[in-house]
Amino acid sequence: MIQFTQASKRYPSGQDALRNVSFHIKPGELAFVTGHSGAGKSTLLKLIALLERPSRGQVLVNGQNLSRVKRRQIPFFRRNLGIIFQDHRLLFDRTVYDNVALPLIISGHSHNEIGRRVRAALDKVGLLKKEKKLPITLSGGEQQRVGIARAVVHKPPLLLADEPTGNLDPELSQEIMQLFREFAQVGVTVLIASHDLALIQRMSCRQLILHNGQLDQDVMPR
């Protein structure tokens, strides 16, 4: 599903964010990217989401060579992804329902289809009763779950999460991780950048450990 081949990223400032990173994540796999802050976790996710392009090397996502994706095609490529952000990135002037519906509106689904899928996604994250609320009235954990519902509502084959539990207490974090595990079980590839080592230990999943931009260890689950 995701294949990095000798991928490097040097920012215009001269900073080497990633150096010769190679790995392969299979469909339906749940994997963590860890490492100290500045190790390159965010950059790695950005390369997959085409927010950045590698300076050298190759990135394949879902069989697609990202260097061949033209600027104009990027939006259509991103519709294959579900992205979850640490700061949720919700639209605060719209209801929970409208927030979750956004990816479906963008790709032009019918009204009925949108209603059905949005409610299914909200049900999945346990927020069906809050669909008419504004995000600002929800707790941090609930906001994050709205973000997750929005990321999965269009049923993407690949889910990316950047520090999804960064601001949450351990119990809520555990719940969120459980959700990710469920998505992986139904065949969604999930890649999570996180430095919450305790949590990752408990999950016993594959870990890509970055150190100063290099892939230090690729730990397979026991």
Partner: protein
């Protein structure tokens, strides 16, 4: 507006999937596409109406900018029409040479009456002219001091001409001046000529003004849209992150520009109509003087149509420029 790309693909798929979802064929997709446009149109209107004061401020400025050249255009069109009517009253005075006697003058008048371009020739003898002059000028006593009648015989020629043919009148004047009996041929239309050049000048001025103010409208709309883009920066980034095309992001801003232009044009319409209404009373008096109907209280349909069209186009172009310029700067990182 560019169509979004992925539409043909789901259409093909749904056809393959069979009759149960056949209604989401290309028609359904097109319908959905237009539904989405309609929804965006309505929702941008709703968004604008939620802050009516700022909507009014912006559209009032646009309205004033549109009303000025449009109002000028309306007045000038009317004035041109009026001057065309006045052209019908043009007369050519033929002052005959002193040596020409009354009989020769009558002969010439007769000859001229045969010409198709001339509708009427009136002969005024020097005696008549003198009497008239004495009566009207108040110089009667001074005239008595003269031994001779200094005035020549005069032929007043009324040309047959449709309006707007000052050139043909000029040639006719020249032609008449070439008759051997004629001393001076004079067109009593100099003031209309002058009016024409003033109108021409004003017309050009109106166009220039219109162009400058059109630029102003573009800038106003552009700046307003720029601020709107700035305010929704986060939203734009989020939409880009989850796969919204530039067209999708551009659409609400373009429709916002559309509404600004439309409302601006409507305000311009109200301004012009009010002004015309206020001017209608003095104009009516003027029209009594000229026996012409000058009353215009409402903007005519054609001008209104063009006013709305230009308003909407300026709104769209202004927002298009702003969106094209500023959306590029907003990229998720």
């Amino acid at each position: 507006m560019r169509k979004r790309k992925p539409q043909p693909a789901p259409a093909r798929r749904s056809q393959r999937e069979g009759a149960s979802i056949a209604r989401t064929g290309i028609n359904g997709l097109l319908g959905r596409y237009f539904t989405h446009h309609l929804q965006t149109l309505i929702s941008t209107l709703g968004q604008l109406l939620r802050s009516p004061f700022s909507l009014f401020m912006t559209t009032a400025v646009i309205g004033i900018a549109l009303a000025l050249p449009t109002g000028l255009h309306v007045v000038l069109t009317k004035a041109q029409y009026l001057s065309g009517e006045l052209e019908g009253t043009a007369q050519i005075s033929l002052f005959l040479k002193n040596a020409v006697n009354e009989q020769q003058a009558q002969g010439l008048a007769q000859k001229l009456r045969q010409m198709p371009e001339i509708s009427q020739v009136r002969f005024i003898s020097r005696q008549q002219a003198l009497a008239e002059f004495k009566q009207n000028s108040g110089f009667a006593e001074a005239m008595q001091a003269l031994d001779d009648n200094p005035l020549p015989h005069l032929l007043v020629v009324q040309p047959v001409l449709a309006q707007g043919n000052s050139e043909r009148i000029q040639t006719l004047v020249q032609q008449l001046g070439q008759h051997i009996e004629v001393d001076v041929a004079q067109l009593d239309m100099d003031w209309i000529e002058r009016l024409y050049s003033i109108l021409d000048f004003l017309q050009r001025g109106a166009w220039l003004l219109a162009m400058i103010l059109a630029m102003a409208v573009l800038l106003i709309v552009g700046n307003t849209i720029r601020l709107a883009i700035e305010n929704r920066r986060d939203e734009i980034i989020i939409i880009k992150l989850i796969g919204g095309t530039n067209g999708f992001i551009r659409r609400p801003f373009l429709y916002t520009g559309f509404w600004y232009g439309l409302f601006g044009a409507l305000i311009a319409f109200v301004i012009i109509s009010t002004t015309l209404l206020l001017l209608s009373a003095p104009l009516e008096q003027l029209s009594l003087l000229y026996n012409k109907s000058l009353v215009l209280t409402v903007l005519d349909l054609e001008t209104t149509f063009y006013l709305l069209l230009v308003g909407v186009l300026l709104g769209l172009v202004g927002s298009w420029l702003a969106v094209g310029r500023h959306l590029k700067d907003i990229e998720p990182v």
